[in-house]
């Protein structure tokens, strides 16, 4: 069994709220998934990646793979650049802290776009442990 959500979000202040509603609708009834936790981390990432006013977009992909017993999420935004990088802020520090303390794995793929991904393991009762192989375009951090 798997569930997937693909969402293109205009870079506007309400983007994270739109994403949370879509996540709640998509994952409704999937008792194994901690929807609040996924929504929190997605909100933090959209807040970091989106640039309201630049007329761009942020892309959210959520994939629930019950067979692999995990939720994998990608949030893709514009490429990072030193010029565009905001000054470190308290909320940015809290974003990282919340992600570090709540997800099982996460990483950043820089390229033509900046893609931040994270994984949350589902409860053991969901099925066998995650597969050993990772997608070729990701680099899990531990």
């Amino acid at each position: 069994m798997s569930l997937a959500l693909h969402l293109r979000l205009r870079d506007e202040p309400e983007a994270a709220a739109v994403a949370r509603r879509a996540i709640a609708a998509t994952l409704a009834g999937t008792v194994l998934v901690d929807v609040d936790l996924v929504s929190l981390v997605v909100t933090e990432l959209i807040g970091r990646l989106s640039r309201p006013g630049d007329d761009g977009e942020t892309v959210l992909d959520v994939h629930v793979d019950v067979t692999a017993a995990r939720v994998r999420v990608h949030v893709t935004g514009p490429p990072r650049s030193e010029e565009a990088a905001p000054e470190p802020t308290l909320s940015a520090g809290w974003s990282l802290l919340l992600m570090e303390r709540t997800v099982d794995r996460w990483g950043i793929d820089d390229g033509p776009a900046t893609r931040v991904w994270f994984e949350i393991d589902l409860p053991a009762a969901a099925g066998p442990p995650p597969r050993a192989t990772e997608p070729a375009d990701s680099a899990p951090t531990t």
Partner: protein
Amino acid sequence: MESLGTGTRPGFAVERVGAGHYRVSGDLDLSTAGVLEAELETDPSASLVLDVSRLAFVDSSGLRVLLRAIVSGRSITLRAPTPSVLRTLRTAGVDRLPGVGIEV
């Protein structure tokens, strides 16, 4: 309790119900944190009480608003947080900050 004023955005509201006493409802995130911040900045009370029983969501932007109030020398009591909000507060360590009280 009588409402003394309200700041709202779609999906969010902060209602002043007394001196330093507010009811906060909806989602407190990047798009709404400024509403709460504006309310708290203009309140001279040394102790703030926020009824967050109808606050469904808080992110780091919301936590920043709370911390700003604390840094300004005030105390904050958060009343009746939902389990989801309470978990975020605890994960971020807000519940252990001096000047913060949480009444579950």
